[in-house]
Structure formats: structure tokens, C-alpha cells
Amino acid sequence: MEQVSKAQILRKLFFSTLYLSAFTFGGGYVIVTLLKNRFVDQYHWIDEEEMLDLVAIAQSSPGAIAVNGAIVVGYKLAGLPGVLLSVLGAVLPPMIILSLISVCYDAFASNPLVGALLGGMRAGVGAVIVSVVYDMGKKIVLEKDWIHIAIMIASFCLCYFCNVNVVFILLAVAAFGVLRAVLEQKKGGRS
């Protein structure tokens, strides 16, 4: 890393995450790629390999990937102050945009034309989600890990037909996953 003062790093962190968060459509994975472009390729503040691990941390943690990506980069570059500033940068644009929309929503949605626009878009967003679920589900089925397929079917039945709280299902599956991972690591270690 070249000689840069801490204040300079913090300022660049804040404005980078602010900018990326304000102008990136297409979700967390896109933002993570752009973070890498900026901090690895452009500023050379993080090396490529370490960035890959940081991205893995961002993707394995709960919460929005865009926010998690901002946190790992902020932590790596400037510790806790870096975390706070990069999260603020990542969160401010959607907060401001959605506050404005939320204030206008009640007035807009009661307008018949805007209501029709939103209603039609609902069918479109439904199609987008069906398409996403199809891709994700296909990937799991093609892996041919029968336990994963069973988890998918059981989870769907529990939350759709039995109305079990999704948090409980996630906790149960996570506990099962940890157990399975530990057992597999043990098996791998012995052989």
C-alpha cells in the first residue's frame, strides 16, 4: 500500500461505498465485484487473493451482501472506524431513496394509473422470482446431493403448508448443517 493517511483512506472508503451503493442495480454480487475493481485493481489497497477470502466472508455471513462487502473492506483497510463509515456509505443511498418513495407511496398508489402500473409490475416481479428460484433450485437438484434435495422439499412443505416460522426452519437446518460438516471433516481427517 502506498503512503496514504488514515483520513484519506476513510474518506475514500465512505465515498466509494456511497457511490457504488447509489448507482449499482442488480444486487449484492454486482457490488462485490465493483468493490474488488476499486480496491484491488484501482487503488491496490488489498491484494487479489485476500479479496477473494473477504468476499467469501461477506457471502457466508447473514445480511445483505452489499453491506457485508462494505464491512469486510472497511475492516481490512481501517478497522472499526472503517466498518462504520463504509456501512454508512452503503446504507445512506437506499435509505434516502426509499424514504422519498415511502412518503409518496400512499398518494401514488391510490392514483388509478400508478396503481395499474404497480399491479402490472407485480406480475413481472413474480416472473423474475420464479426465474430466480428455477435457476437456484436447478443448481441444487443437479448437484445430486439427496440430503440437500430433501432439505429443500421439507423446508418448502414446512413453511408453505404448515406455516412454520422461517427462522425456526433456518436454525434447524443450520444446526443440521454444522453437525454434518463436523462429521464430514472428522471422516476426512481419519481417512
Binding site: S21, F25, G28, D53, L54, A56, I57, A58, S60, S61, P62, G63, A64, A66, V67, N68, I71, P94, M95, I97, L98, S99, I101, S102, V103, A109, P112, L118, G119, G120, R122, A123, G124, V125, G126, A127, I129, V130, V132, V133, M136, G137, H148, I151, M152, I153, S155, F156, N163, V167, I169, L170, L171, V173, A174, F176, G177, V178, A181, E184
Partner: protein
């Protein structure tokens, strides 16, 4: 009191949405529509649409939108802080552990087991949005006056454009919206 409820709800959404992107959607739906009734199924569907159209993660968008609707700007701030708090703690902790051990295998294997459950839950939330789009009274009831065949046509056309033509999702959604708006305008003339 409402602030505490908002805080606890969005804390859960932040803490349990593994896998990014749509993973938060079923949790938001559970907390905001099913448990607390802060939004109707229709408004929730609109929120997902708006989140899809604007930059930023859906959980942050939802926190701001629901917070503002329920308790104004302070509500939005409380919900958003609650939503990012688990991330801040968990990711920072993990980054610390990582710099010491450089091993994420256990976590990533656990995550592999969680992924199928997350897909199932996104499917469930997606069904709710489709039901809200297709049925006038928001319940799965196959009566002639309850089913909107026009919406089913939009849905089929949108799915075709997405899958076969690899069209941009935002463009497809806007197209569906504009078709319905033109239809409404033509009918009211």
C-alpha cells in the same frame, strides 16, 4: 414500543438472511406481513417491486419503507440500524477470526446445507407475490371473478422474455407495468 418492535423484527431479518439477494424476502414477509401486519400482501408485493427497481439491498429498502410507513423517519432509522447490526457484528468477528486462522471450511459447508432451505423459502415468498398478482381477493380461490387472466398473460410473457430472450428483469417489469397502465387508461376512456 413500536420502535422496539421494529428493532426486534429487523434484527431478526438481518441476522437470519443467509445467502444474499432474495434470501431476506421470506423473512421480511414473515415479520412484516404475517406476524405484525405492518403491510398488506399487496403493499409487500409493491415493496418487492420497488426494491427491484431501485439500487440497494432489499432488506435495507424494506427497513426504510416499513419504518417510514409505521413510525416515520425515526422508525426508518431504527429499522435500518437493526437490520445492519447483525451483519456488522458477525462479519467483523469473522474477519477477526479469519485473519487468525484463515479457514472458512466449516462455515462454508454449513452454508451449503442452508442454501436449499433458502431456495424453498424464496419460492414460498414468490408464491405469495404471484397470488397477490393473480387473485383479486389475495387468496388462492379459483372463481371467474377472482382470477385475473390478464395478469397471468403478463406473467407468462415476462417469463418468456426472461428465460428465452434473456431480457433485463427491470425492463420486463416496467413493460408489464406499462401494459397494465395502458389497459386501465383505455378502459376508463
Amino acid at each position: 414500543m413500536i420502535y422496539l418492535q421494529l428493532f426486534l423484527s429487523f434484527l431478526q431479518i438481518g441476522a437470519f438472511s443467509f445467502g444474499g439477494g432474495y434470501a431476506a424476502m421470506p423473512l421480511i414477509q414473515e415479520q412484516v406481513v404475517t406476524l405484525h401486519g405492518w403491510l398488506t400482501a399487496d403493499t409487500f408485493a409493491d415493496l418487492v417491486t420497488i426494491a427491484e427497481m431501485t439500487p440497494g439491498p432489499i432488506a435495507i429498502n424494506a427497513a426504510t419503507f416499513v419504518g417510514t410507513q409505521v413510525a416515520g423517519v425515526p422508525g426508518a432509522v431504527v429499522a435500518t440500524i437493526a437490520c445492519v447490526l447483525p451483519s456488522c457484528l458477525f462479519v467483523t468477528l469473522l474477519a477477526m477470526v479469519y485473519t487468525r486462522y484463515r479457514d472458512l471450511a466449516l462455515l462454508q459447508q454449513t452454508l451449503a446445507s442452508l442454501r436449499p432451505a433458502v431456495v424453498a423459502m424464496i419460492a414460498k415468498a414468490g408464491m405469495a407475490i404471484l397470488i397477490s398478482a393473480f387473485f383479486a381477493d389475495q387468496t388462492f380461490r379459483l372463481a371467474k371473478d377472482n382470477v385475473s387472466f390478464r395478469m397471468i398473460c403478463y406473467f407468462a410473457a415476462a417469463l418468456f422474455l426472461l428465460r428465452k430472450k434473456k431480457a433485463n428483469p427491470i425492463l420486463v417489469m416496467v413493460l408489464c407495468g406499462i401494459c397494465e397502465m395502458l389497459f386501465t387508461a383505455a378502459v376508463s376512456l
